[in-house]
């Protein structure tokens, strides 16, 4: 290699590394698409994936199968303390939605062993179904980075409201009412 080519190669190598670093940071940046859309009054389509149902070997389910119903999509894990705190609120929402068959709460377990998730379901007496997002792809679609997160979806499969963090009864009541109104 000619001596004059050495600095050029070094500069190119450094530029390539910096480029990779920028790409890595940008591609892993927080996905705020849903937040921005909902925040500006839009109703973005709710991402859906076919995923295994918790506690039912071989059975899969998807949000898409619940079109025509209001869905409270809740990402949770048994190791998440705020998930424990909000579980009774979600069960209350489930009772409300099941009363007239207008919808359901759909749990999505995230990085959680199925036995631990099932114990959580039993401990909190949860009656709503959950699907297992083992690879975290659905969570990625929703920009989920920390648990719990909740998305209220209307009958047309559009996101009406979202809560990144523990949900309150006030949030659930208002969001479910809004979703049912459409």
């Amino acid at each position: 290699m000619k001596r004059s080519a050495v600095p050029l190669v070094a500069v190119l190598a450094v530029a390539a590394l910096v480029g990779l670093l920028i790409y890595g940071v940008v591609s892993r940046a927080e996905n705020k698409t849903l937040d921005e859309a909902v925040g500006t009054g839009q109703r973005p389509s709710a991402p859906a994936r076919m995923l295994p149902v918790l506690g039912q070997t071989g059975k899969t389910d998807s949000l898409a199968a619940l079109k025509g119903k209001v869905v409270v999509l809740n990402f949770w894990a048994s190791w998440c303390d705020p998930c424990k705190a909000e579980a009774p609120e979600l069960e209350r929402a489930q009772k409300r939605l099941q009363k007239d068959g207008s919808g359901t709460v759909l749990g999505v377990t995230y990085r959680d062993a199925s036995n631990d998730s099932l114990k959580f379901v039993k401990d909190f007496g949860l009656t709503y179904p959950s699907i297992r997002d083992v690879d975290g792809k659905l969570a990625q679609d929703y920009g989920t980075r920390a648990l719990p997160e909740t998305f209220v979806i209307d009958r047309q499969g559009k996101v009406v409201a979202l809560s990144r963090g523990e949900v309150t009864q006030k949030f659930l009541d208002a969001a479910v009412t809004e979703a049912l109104a459409k």
Partner: protein, 161 residues
């Protein structure tokens, strides 16, 4: 007497076989240990390797591993089961698909660039040092001796003649 001897030999052979069989099977498939697995997987809620994690979730994962060890599963099987339960991110080693290949490439490139840098810079540096040393030998740089110093040097030299 002969029959007793035959019985004794038979018993010894049976005992030897009974002792040797488990040892042989252990030698073929060594039992997996928690330590062996936990340094290769992550605590999924804390984002650090399981062997240094201290949280309820880390304890659950350790319990999961211990259960699988008790069932006689190998390290590879346990890691597979953990991926099925917790997803790919439970594996501490980065995968080499897509953008993740940079996890392997970048350290390699950095090492190659450093070696190349040292290989180029070191000879130049040495050349510069040698030139500086040679420059130091220039008679013009030697300080002038005064009369006293000159006299002492002459005396010292005279002693060796």
């Amino acid at each position: 007497m002969r029959s007793r001897l035959a019985l004794l030999v038979g018993l010894l052979a049976a005992v030897t076989l009974a002792l040797a069989a488990p040892a042989a099977s252990l030698a073929v498939t060594p039992r997996t240990s928690l330590n062996d697995v936990e340094d290769e997987v992550m605590c999924v809620s804390c984002g650090i390797p399981l062997n240094i994690a201290d949280s309820p979730q880390a304890d659950r994962e350790r319990a999961f591993i211990n259960d699988q060890i008790a069932l006689g599963k190998s390290k590879a099987q346990i890691k597979q089961l953990m991926v099925a339960e917790y997803g790919n991110r439970v594996i501490a080693q980065p995968n080499s698909k897509g953008f993740n290949i940079t996890n392997w490439l970048i350290p390699l490139v950095v090492v190659v660039v450093l070696i190349a840098g040292v290989a180029i810079v070191l000879p130049r540096w040495r050349r510069t040092e040698i030139s500086a040393e040679l420059a130091g030998d220039d008679p013009a740089d030697v300080p002038e001796l005064d009369d006293e110093e000159r006299r002492r040097i002459d005396e010292d030299l005279a002693r060796y003649r």
